[in-house]
Amino acid sequence: MSETPTPPNGRRVIHLDGSVDLEHTPDIRDVLLNAVALGGDVLVDLSAVTYIDSSGIACLIEALHEAREQGADLGLVSVSTQAMRVLKLARLDMVFPIHADLASATRALARA
């Protein structure tokens, strides 16, 4: 898990990797909510996520709600096959803004 040091266009980018599971979601939740609390849109790169469970999805939902309460948004970028499968099982693939890559995410948020 890491954060892009210099946010492009003021948008924070959080990179998640490996297993986003119950063992790791307490730390991931803190990172996501801290990023949202700093203000502005947040992008979460899921390209290196090899496993995600319900606790990981719950973290993303909570961060999305927090962002929108602040008038910002939270988008998912480069979602791995496994993560997309789970998002679809939860029927959340139409709830989160999902972007093919960071460039298209940045363009989409700039238009919003």
Partner: protein, 152 residues
């Protein structure tokens, strides 16, 4: 919790034991369970995507046992029996936690976009059969069955 349940449909055919996993009810041991279930699902002929689904369903069931059953008491144990069936994989999870009211682990309505109870939704969406019952002498048994999609 109900009494002894009607046998799952999978019990009507043959089943071959693949493995029995006895794992401490600890969150940091879930990865061991996932690894074992993944191997078992591949042995039963599931493709990569279905294998990932089965792993998720069993993982969520074990999380429910750890969090709701044992209430994170790490002295508990989860016993997982994996069987190869004619048409797929059957799993049997046993614990010695207090009896679980199945209503407490029912999935929420998916239109309600908020954290919580997604695990039960995954279990019931992925697996073809999911059945809770009381274990003789105490504890709980959760049986789940997944059929291969390439078998008519």
């Amino acid at each position: 919790m109900t009494g002894p349940a009607t046998p799952l449909a999978a019990d009507q055919g043959t089943r071959e034991p693949i493995a029995e996993l006895r794992v401490p009810a600890r969150i940091d041991h879930l990865k061991l369970i996932r690894a074992g279930v993944e191997v078992a699902a591949r042995m039963c002929g599931f493709d990569w995507l279905e294998t990932q689904d089965v792993v998720l369903a069993v993982d969520e069931a074990c999380q429910n046992i750890i969090v709701h059953g044992y209430r994170r008491d790490e002295s508990g144990e989860i016993v997982i029996n994996l069987y190869r069936c004619d048409d797929g994989l059957r799993t049997e999870l046993r614990d010695t936690a207090p009896r679980v009211d199945p209503d407490l682990v029912r999935p929420r309505a998916l239109g309600d976009v908020r954290p919580g109870k997604l695990g039960s939704h995954f279990m019931r969406t992925i697996m073809d059969e999911v059945e809770f019952r009381a274990a003789p002498g105490g504890g709980n048994i959760l049986e789940m069955h997944k059929r291969r999609s390439d078998i008519p």
